[in-house]
Protein backbone atom coordinates (compact mmCIF):
# COMPACT_ATOMS: atom_id res chain seq x y z
CA UNK A 1 0.00 0.00 0.00
CA UNK A 2 1.46 3.42 -0.85
CA UNK A 3 1.81 6.23 1.69
CA UNK A 4 -0.80 8.57 0.17
CA UNK A 5 -3.90 7.30 2.08
CA UNK A 6 -1.81 7.36 5.27
CA UNK A 7 -0.61 10.94 4.72
CA UNK A 8 -4.09 12.15 3.69
CA UNK A 9 -5.89 10.56 6.66
CA UNK A 10 -3.38 11.94 9.15
CA UNK A 11 -3.46 15.33 7.39
CA UNK A 12 -7.27 15.69 7.63
CA UNK A 13 -7.45 14.37 11.22
CA UNK A 14 -4.64 16.65 12.27
CA UNK A 15 -6.15 19.67 10.48
CA UNK A 16 -9.44 19.22 12.39
CA UNK A 17 -7.67 19.08 15.75
CA UNK A 18 -5.29 21.91 14.81
CA UNK A 19 -8.28 24.17 14.00
CA UNK A 20 -9.66 23.55 17.51
CA UNK A 21 -6.25 24.14 19.09
CA UNK A 22 -5.83 27.34 17.04
CA UNK A 23 -9.08 28.72 18.49
CA UNK A 24 -7.72 28.30 22.04
CA UNK A 25 -4.26 29.67 21.17
CA UNK A 26 -5.77 32.74 19.49
CA UNK A 27 -8.05 33.38 22.47
CA UNK A 28 -5.06 33.21 24.83
CA UNK A 29 -2.70 35.22 22.61
CA UNK A 30 -5.02 38.01 21.52
CA UNK A 31 -6.62 38.63 24.93
CA UNK A 32 -3.70 37.86 27.25
CA UNK A 33 -0.09 37.75 26.14
CA UNK A 34 1.56 36.18 23.09
CA UNK A 35 4.87 35.33 24.80
CA UNK A 36 3.32 33.07 27.48
CA UNK A 37 0.88 31.65 24.92
CA UNK A 38 3.74 30.61 22.60
CA UNK A 39 5.64 29.15 25.55
CA UNK A 40 2.58 27.03 26.45
CA UNK A 41 2.16 25.94 22.82
CA UNK A 42 5.86 25.07 22.48
CA UNK A 43 5.83 23.08 25.74
CA UNK A 44 2.78 21.09 24.57
CA UNK A 45 4.33 20.41 21.14
CA UNK A 46 7.51 19.17 22.87
CA UNK A 47 5.47 16.76 25.04
CA UNK A 48 3.57 15.52 21.96
CA UNK A 49 6.81 15.06 19.97
CA UNK A 50 8.32 13.14 22.92
CA UNK A 51 5.29 10.82 23.03
CA UNK A 52 5.60 10.12 19.28
CA UNK A 53 9.40 9.77 19.59
CA UNK A 54 9.16 7.23 22.44
CA UNK A 55 5.96 5.32 21.63
CA UNK A 56 6.28 5.29 17.82
CA UNK A 57 9.48 3.24 17.47
CA UNK A 58 8.50 1.05 20.48
CA UNK A 59 5.12 0.15 18.97
CA UNK A 60 6.79 -0.54 15.61
CA UNK A 61 8.89 -3.28 17.28
CA UNK A 62 5.78 -5.35 18.11
CA UNK A 63 4.90 -8.31 15.83
CA UNK A 64 2.71 -7.09 12.97
CA UNK A 65 -0.19 -9.52 13.60
CA UNK A 66 -0.58 -8.56 17.27
CA UNK A 67 -0.10 -4.90 16.39
CA UNK A 68 -2.84 -5.03 13.74
CA UNK A 69 -5.26 -6.81 16.09
CA UNK A 70 -4.83 -4.35 18.96
CA UNK A 71 -4.44 -1.19 16.89
CA UNK A 72 -7.21 -2.26 14.49
CA UNK A 73 -9.59 -2.70 17.44
CA UNK A 74 -8.62 0.67 18.94
CA UNK A 75 -8.92 2.46 15.58
CA UNK A 76 -12.29 0.87 14.81
CA UNK A 77 -13.65 1.88 18.25
CA UNK A 78 -12.16 5.37 17.95
CA UNK A 79 -13.42 5.77 14.36
CA UNK A 80 -16.95 4.61 15.23
CA UNK A 81 -16.95 7.18 18.04
CA UNK A 82 -16.04 9.97 15.55
CA UNK A 83 -18.61 8.72 13.06
CA UNK A 84 -21.34 8.49 15.68
CA UNK A 85 -20.84 12.12 16.72
CA UNK A 86 -20.51 13.35 13.13
CA UNK A 87 -23.75 11.56 12.16
CA UNK A 88 -25.63 12.95 15.19
CA UNK A 89 -24.38 16.45 14.28
CA UNK A 90 -25.22 16.06 10.59
CA UNK A 91 -28.71 14.84 11.50
CA UNK A 92 -29.33 17.77 13.86
CA UNK A 93 -29.47 15.74 17.09
CA UNK A 94 -26.28 17.36 18.36
CA UNK A 95 -25.15 20.96 17.92
CA UNK A 96 -22.45 21.55 15.29
CA UNK A 97 -19.06 22.48 16.70
CA UNK A 98 -18.95 26.26 16.40
CA UNK A 99 -15.41 27.68 16.47
CA UNK A 100 -16.70 31.29 16.62
CA UNK A 101 -18.73 30.71 19.80
CA UNK A 102 -15.98 28.50 21.30
CA UNK A 103 -13.59 31.42 20.70
CA UNK A 104 -15.93 33.91 22.39
CA UNK A 105 -16.28 31.63 25.44
CA UNK A 106 -12.48 31.29 25.73
CA UNK A 107 -12.00 35.07 25.32
CA UNK A 108 -14.54 35.84 28.06
CA UNK A 109 -12.84 33.39 30.45
CA UNK A 110 -9.36 34.72 29.55
CA UNK A 111 -10.39 38.34 30.17
CA UNK A 112 -11.84 37.48 33.59
CA UNK A 113 -8.75 35.59 34.86
CA UNK A 114 -6.11 37.53 36.88
CA UNK A 115 -2.54 37.84 35.53
CA UNK A 116 -0.19 35.79 37.72
CA UNK A 117 3.53 35.14 37.07
CA UNK A 118 4.71 31.64 38.02
CA UNK A 119 7.79 29.46 37.40
CA UNK A 120 9.40 32.05 35.11
CA UNK A 121 6.24 32.43 33.00
CA UNK A 122 4.91 36.00 33.02
CA UNK A 123 1.23 35.02 32.43
CA UNK A 124 0.51 31.59 33.88
CA UNK A 125 -3.13 31.59 32.70
CA UNK A 126 -2.17 32.17 29.04
CA UNK A 127 0.54 29.50 29.34
CA UNK A 128 -1.72 26.81 30.83
CA UNK A 129 -4.65 27.62 28.52
CA UNK A 130 -2.44 27.30 25.46
CA UNK A 131 -0.58 24.23 26.84
CA UNK A 132 -3.74 22.31 27.72
CA UNK A 133 -5.50 23.22 24.46
CA UNK A 134 -2.63 22.11 22.23
CA UNK A 135 -1.85 19.00 24.32
CA UNK A 136 -5.43 17.72 24.51
CA UNK A 137 -6.21 18.34 20.84
CA UNK A 138 -2.78 16.99 19.89
CA UNK A 139 -3.22 13.69 21.75
CA UNK A 140 -5.82 12.50 19.24
CA UNK A 141 -3.41 13.35 16.44
CA UNK A 142 -0.59 11.49 18.20
CA UNK A 143 -2.87 8.46 18.56
CA UNK A 144 -3.63 8.50 14.83
CA UNK A 145 0.00 9.18 13.82
CA UNK A 146 1.30 6.28 15.93
CA UNK A 147 -1.41 3.77 15.02
CA UNK A 148 -1.34 4.49 11.28
CA UNK A 149 2.43 4.95 11.14
CA UNK A 150 3.17 1.75 13.08
CA UNK A 151 0.71 -0.37 11.10
CA UNK A 152 2.08 0.82 7.79
CA UNK A 153 5.64 0.65 9.12
CA UNK A 154 5.97 4.25 7.94
CA UNK A 155 5.96 6.58 10.94
CA UNK A 156 7.78 9.23 8.91
CA UNK A 157 4.92 9.59 6.39
CA UNK A 158 2.39 9.93 9.24
CA UNK A 159 4.50 12.63 10.90
CA UNK A 160 4.80 14.47 7.56
CA UNK A 161 0.97 14.44 7.14
CA UNK A 162 0.53 15.85 10.66
CA UNK A 163 3.24 18.49 10.20
CA UNK A 164 1.78 19.74 6.89
CA UNK A 165 -1.65 20.08 8.54
CA UNK A 166 -0.24 22.10 11.47
CA UNK A 167 1.63 24.42 9.08
CA UNK A 168 -1.44 24.91 6.83
CA UNK A 169 -3.78 25.63 9.77
CA UNK A 170 -1.24 27.92 11.48
CA UNK A 171 -0.76 29.85 8.21
CA UNK A 172 -4.56 30.19 7.88
CA UNK A 173 -4.80 31.44 11.47
CA UNK A 174 -2.01 33.98 10.97
CA UNK A 175 -3.63 35.16 7.72
CA UNK A 176 -7.12 35.78 9.14
CA UNK A 177 -6.14 36.42 12.80
CA UNK A 178 -9.41 34.77 13.83
CA UNK A 179 -10.71 31.24 14.42
CA UNK A 180 -11.17 29.27 11.20
CA UNK A 181 -14.96 29.20 11.63
CA UNK A 182 -15.73 28.66 7.93
CA UNK A 183 -13.95 25.33 7.63
CA UNK A 184 -16.58 22.54 7.32
CA UNK A 185 -15.41 20.83 10.50
CA UNK A 186 -18.18 18.26 10.72
CA UNK A 187 -17.62 17.15 7.12
CA UNK A 188 -13.91 16.71 7.88
CA UNK A 189 -14.70 14.76 11.05
CA UNK A 190 -17.09 12.61 9.05
CA UNK A 191 -14.31 11.86 6.55
CA UNK A 192 -11.81 11.04 9.32
CA UNK A 193 -14.36 8.79 11.06
CA UNK A 194 -14.88 6.89 7.80
CA UNK A 195 -11.12 6.41 7.29
CA UNK A 196 -10.44 5.39 10.91
CA UNK A 197 -13.34 2.91 10.93
CA UNK A 198 -12.34 1.43 7.55
CA UNK A 199 -8.65 1.03 8.36
CA UNK A 200 -9.44 -0.19 11.90
CA UNK A 201 -11.84 -2.82 10.56
CA UNK A 202 -9.35 -3.89 7.88
CA UNK A 203 -6.33 -4.18 10.19
CA UNK A 204 -8.33 -5.60 13.12
CA UNK A 205 -9.77 -8.43 11.00
CA UNK A 206 -6.32 -9.12 9.49
CA UNK A 207 -4.85 -9.28 12.98
CA UNK A 208 -7.60 -11.74 13.97
CA UNK A 209 -6.41 -14.07 11.20
CA UNK A 210 -8.60 -13.11 8.24
CA UNK A 211 -7.41 -12.81 4.64
CA UNK A 212 -9.29 -10.05 2.84
CA UNK A 213 -10.46 -10.79 -0.72
CA UNK A 214 -8.06 -8.86 -2.97
CA UNK A 215 -5.70 -8.17 -0.02
CA UNK A 216 -5.01 -4.41 0.29
CA UNK A 217 -7.37 -3.67 -2.64
CA UNK A 218 -10.26 -4.59 -0.28
CA UNK A 219 -9.81 -1.13 1.25
CA UNK A 220 -10.88 0.40 -2.06
CA UNK A 221 -14.27 -1.26 -1.48
CA UNK A 222 -14.40 -0.99 2.31
CA UNK A 223 -13.89 2.79 2.49
CA UNK A 224 -16.75 3.63 0.03
CA UNK A 225 -19.04 1.08 1.74
CA UNK A 226 -18.41 2.64 5.17
CA UNK A 227 -18.98 6.09 3.63
CA UNK A 228 -22.27 5.10 1.97
CA UNK A 229 -23.57 3.37 5.12
CA UNK A 230 -22.67 6.37 7.31
CA UNK A 231 -24.20 8.89 4.92
CA UNK A 232 -27.28 6.65 4.77
CA UNK A 233 -27.57 6.63 8.57
CA UNK A 234 -27.19 10.44 8.61
CA UNK A 235 -29.88 10.93 5.94
CA UNK A 236 -32.21 8.52 7.73
CA UNK A 237 -31.76 10.26 11.10
CA UNK A 238 -32.09 13.72 9.50
CA UNK A 239 -35.49 12.75 8.11
CA UNK A 240 -36.56 11.33 11.49
CA UNK A 241 -35.35 14.49 13.24
CA UNK A 242 -37.28 16.75 10.83
CA UNK A 243 -40.42 14.68 11.34
CA UNK A 244 -39.99 14.87 15.13
CA UNK A 245 -39.34 18.61 15.06
CA UNK A 246 -42.45 19.15 12.95
CA UNK A 247 -44.49 16.96 15.35
CA UNK A 248 -43.42 18.70 18.57
CA UNK A 249 -40.60 19.35 21.08
CA UNK A 250 -37.56 17.09 20.61
CA UNK A 251 -35.98 15.12 23.42
CA UNK A 252 -32.28 15.99 23.47
CA UNK A 253 -29.49 13.47 23.12
CA UNK A 254 -28.50 12.19 26.58
CA UNK A 255 -26.59 14.46 28.98
CA UNK A 256 -23.55 12.20 28.85
CA UNK A 257 -22.96 13.07 25.18
CA UNK A 258 -19.98 15.15 24.22
CA UNK A 259 -17.80 14.22 27.17
CA UNK A 260 -14.84 13.32 25.00
CA UNK A 261 -15.16 16.55 23.07
CA UNK A 262 -14.37 15.31 19.56
Amino acid sequence: MNALPLVLTVFVACAVEAIEALTIVLAAGLTRQWRSTFQGMAAALLVLAAIVGVLGPTVTLLPLTALRLVIGALLAIFGLQWLRKAILRAAGYKALHDEASAYLREVAAAKAAPEVAKRGISDWYAFTLSFKGVLLEGLEVVFIVITFGANQRDLGAAVVGAAIAVVVVAAGGIAVRAPLARVPENALKFAVGIMLTSFGTFWGAEGAGVKWPGNDAALLVLVPVVAVMSLGYAAWLRRAHRADTAAGPQAPVSQAEGVSGL
Binding site: T201, A208, G209, V210, W236, A240, H241, S260
Partner: protein
Protein backbone atom coordinates in the same frame (compact mmCIF):
# COMPACT_ATOMS: atom_id res chain seq x y z
CA UNK B 1 -3.00 10.40 44.46
CA UNK B 2 -6.20 8.37 44.04
CA UNK B 3 -7.94 11.38 42.54
CA UNK B 4 -5.13 11.86 40.01
CA UNK B 5 -5.25 8.17 39.04
CA UNK B 6 -9.02 8.34 38.73
CA UNK B 7 -8.94 11.40 36.48
CA UNK B 8 -6.13 9.83 34.39
CA UNK B 9 -8.22 6.67 33.91
CA UNK B 10 -11.33 8.68 33.20
CA UNK B 11 -9.48 10.75 30.57
CA UNK B 12 -8.29 7.64 28.68
CA UNK B 13 -11.71 6.00 28.99
CA UNK B 14 -13.39 9.06 27.46
CA UNK B 15 -10.61 9.37 24.90
CA UNK B 16 -10.78 5.82 23.51
CA UNK B 17 -14.20 4.43 24.49
CA UNK B 18 -16.16 7.70 24.38
CA UNK B 19 -19.87 8.07 24.96
CA UNK B 20 -20.96 4.51 24.28
CA UNK B 21 -18.96 1.62 25.78
CA UNK B 22 -21.29 -0.89 24.16
CA UNK B 23 -19.91 -0.03 20.71
CA UNK B 24 -16.42 -0.84 21.98
CA UNK B 25 -17.67 -4.08 23.56
CA UNK B 26 -19.35 -5.17 20.32
CA UNK B 27 -16.18 -4.50 18.30
CA UNK B 28 -14.09 -6.55 20.76
CA UNK B 29 -16.61 -9.43 20.74
CA UNK B 30 -16.74 -9.40 16.91
CA UNK B 31 -12.93 -9.50 16.73
CA UNK B 32 -12.88 -12.44 19.15
CA UNK B 33 -15.47 -14.30 17.06
CA UNK B 34 -13.52 -13.53 13.87
CA UNK B 35 -10.35 -14.97 15.43
CA UNK B 36 -12.23 -18.06 16.64
CA UNK B 37 -13.77 -18.67 13.23
CA UNK B 38 -10.42 -18.16 11.48
CA UNK B 39 -8.23 -20.22 13.78
CA UNK B 40 -10.59 -22.90 15.16
CA UNK B 41 -13.25 -23.41 12.48
CA UNK B 42 -11.05 -22.46 9.52
CA UNK B 43 -13.63 -19.92 8.24
CA UNK B 44 -12.24 -16.81 6.58
CA UNK B 45 -14.83 -14.51 8.20
CA UNK B 46 -13.64 -11.19 6.72
CA UNK B 47 -17.27 -10.03 6.55
CA UNK B 48 -17.99 -10.35 10.28
CA UNK B 49 -16.23 -7.23 11.61
CA UNK B 50 -17.70 -4.78 9.04
CA UNK B 51 -21.20 -6.13 9.70
CA UNK B 52 -20.67 -5.87 13.48
CA UNK B 53 -19.34 -2.30 13.11
CA UNK B 54 -22.38 -1.19 11.06
CA UNK B 55 -24.75 -2.91 13.50
CA UNK B 56 -23.01 -1.38 16.53
CA UNK B 57 -23.18 2.09 14.99
CA UNK B 58 -26.86 1.74 14.05
CA UNK B 59 -27.73 0.43 17.53
CA UNK B 60 -25.79 3.20 19.23
CA UNK B 61 -27.42 5.89 17.07
CA UNK B 62 -30.83 4.43 17.76
CA UNK B 63 -30.28 4.60 21.51
CA UNK B 64 -28.76 8.11 21.32
CA UNK B 65 -31.81 9.41 19.47
CA UNK B 66 -34.32 7.68 21.71
CA UNK B 67 -35.22 4.95 19.19
CA UNK B 68 -36.24 7.39 16.45
CA UNK B 69 -34.21 5.68 13.69
Amino acid sequence: MMRALKSFGSFWYDFVIGDDWQVAALVVVALGLTALLAHVAGVNAWWLLPIAAFAALAWSLRRATGGKS
